[in-house]
């Protein structure tokens, strides 16, 4: 697959995937608004609102490769005539803030789904929080997308002289990079690595026992009791996403041209899908102590465990396989 990792392909991938946080987020937000305005109890509690939260969680996950391919696209076009480095930096910084808020919206949506699975109700507080966070991230995403479009299409700018102007709604990627590996910050990278490993063992341990239960081991444990541990797995994912993104932003060139990193991203998306499955899947929720296990759950569980091992293998082997560091 390494011959596919060309600057042109990564640019193209960024242009394809960036529809998730723009068009996709708009759709998820619209579903959420309709479910809030609707008088129907079924729409609120059974159909549309859980769907809106699920789509929002999926969009938040899919935005991870959007952000990472963005830095790869920058490497592809930075030397082309007429491309402004300042415009790309402005796009990256506004996209970073939009990304952070969208991830918070995704976490909030996940928590709503988790509560919904347990009580058949999504608490109003979580609905409001998810609504506010997704509205803010949609606004920020629009700004980021607009600045991004201007990089190669100056004709869409009302005033071309504004190309490269930083939006006030941004988070400095250069600031993050300086915090991670700037002068005098030698302790930050190793500390983040340690946190990355603690987070990894946390989500792995919990998702391991939950999947094993659905595959037919630990049959004396009712699955709904293990479901109670899932927020701790999300916490582990969160620690790893924050620390992982800090590594990436600090040293993008170690990753953008490394095929192993893209494999890790693909496996990570599948692992996130497994978390969603463990959170809402009705057959999983109905697995009481001693319930016989369906072959479908065994296959899904085995695939999920193989995926976790693959995520870890790709992460650990990043410096050795491929060409980074």
């Amino acid at each position: 697959m390494s011959e596919l990792i060309t600057p042109g392909n990564l640019s193209h991938l960024h242009l394809l995937l960036n529809h998730f946080p723009t068009v996709g987020l708009t759709v998820a937000f619209a579903l959420l608004i309709v479910s809030i305005l609707s008088d129907s109890e079924a729409m609120k509690h059974d159909t549309m609102r859980p769907t809106a939260l699920g789509v929002l969680f999926a969009i938040a996950v899919m935005t991870l490769p959007v952000f990472t391919t963005g830095l790869a696209a920058e490497g592809a076009i930075e030397k082309l005539p007429g491309v402004s480095k300042a415009a790309m930096d402005a796009h990256e910084n506004s996209a970073l803030l939009a990304f952070v808020v969208l991830e918070l919206a995704g976490a909030s949506a996940w928590f709503g789904l988790w509560r919904w699975r347990r009580t058949r109700r999504i608490p109003p507080g979580i609905t409001i929080l998810t609504f506010v966070l997704s509205a803010v991230s949609l606004g920020l995403m629009t700004i980021a997308a607009s600045i991004g479009g201007g990089i190669r299409h100056p004709e869409i700018l009302a005033d071309p002289s504004t190309a490269g102007a930083q939006s006030v709604f941004s988070m400095s990627a250069a600031g993050v990079a300086f915090f991670v590996n700037g002068r005098g910050h030698q302790w930050v990278w190793p500390t983040l690595e340690s946190a990355h490993f603690v987070g990894m063992t946390l989500w792995f341990g919990i998702l391991l026992i939950a999947n094993l239960r659905l595959m037919g081991w630990f049959t004396a444990i009712p699955y709904p009791s293990l479901h109670r541990l899932l927020p701790w797995a999300l916490l582990g994912f969160g620690v790893n996403e924050v620390s992982g993104m800090m590594f990436y932003i600090a040293t993008p060139k170690g990753y953008t041209t490394n095929v192993v990193f893209y494999w890790k991203l693909i496996f990570l998306l599948i692992a996130a899908a497994d978390l969603l499955y463990l959170t809402v899947w009705p057959q999983a929720w109905r697995t009481e102590a001693g319930t016989p296990v369906h072959v479908r759950e065994r296959v899904i569980g085995a695939a999920a465990l193989a995926t976790f091992v693959a995520v870890m293998y790709c992460g650990r082997m990043l410096p050795f396989l491929g060409n980074s560091f």
Binding site: P190, I206, R228, R316, F320
Partner: protein
């Protein structure tokens, strides 16, 4: 230590131009850590009161998985030490990591006895078992930090 460092085996693990030497040993060590500490977190979280509806009795095999993973990591850990003995033997971080593990191993034995000593289906967790679980979890976090920092210092 210098003789060990210069031995053919040490040199092979450290310098062989193949992913089957140092990278694979390190990766298996990381797999073992995931399994050992991952299962420890699940056990400790339950004993500390997260997911009180999870029956404790059926969780007991987690201890067997933890010991299985421990032996894998002892073996791969020895190989990693052989690959780089001089730096590790003189590193405070390395000896701190060893100390944390040496304190934790008997704690885990005591924890299993405290929870499953009298019954195979415990329903309440004693205050003593909770304290052991909290200390053991903190020691695992410390072990991961010491091990990870060792790669950079």
């Amino acid at each position: 230590m210098t003789a060990l460092h210069d031995s053919a085996f040490s040199t092979w693990i450290r310098e062989a131009e193949t992913v089957w030497a140092f990278p694979t040993v390190l990766t298996v060590h990381t797999f073992g850590m995931m399994l050992l500490v991952g299962c420890a977190w699940v056990m400790d979280l339950r004993l500390l009161g997260v997911g009180r509806t999870i029956p404790i009795g059926p969780l007991r095999p987690l201890f067997r998985i933890m010991w299985f993973a421990f032996w894998i990591n002892l073996a791969t850990g020895v190989l990693l030490f052989i690959a780089d003995p001089e730096r590790k033997a003189t590193s405070m971080l390395f000896w701190s990591k060893m100390l944390l593990i040496l304190i934790n191993l008997p704690l885990i034995k005591r924890l299993e006895r405290a929870v499953f000593g009298n019954t195979s289906a415990p329903t309440v967790v004693s205050g003593g078992a909770r304290q052991l679980a909290a200390v053991s979890a903190a020691l695992w976090a410390g072990t991961i930090f010491a091990g990870r920092l060792l790669g950079y210092m």
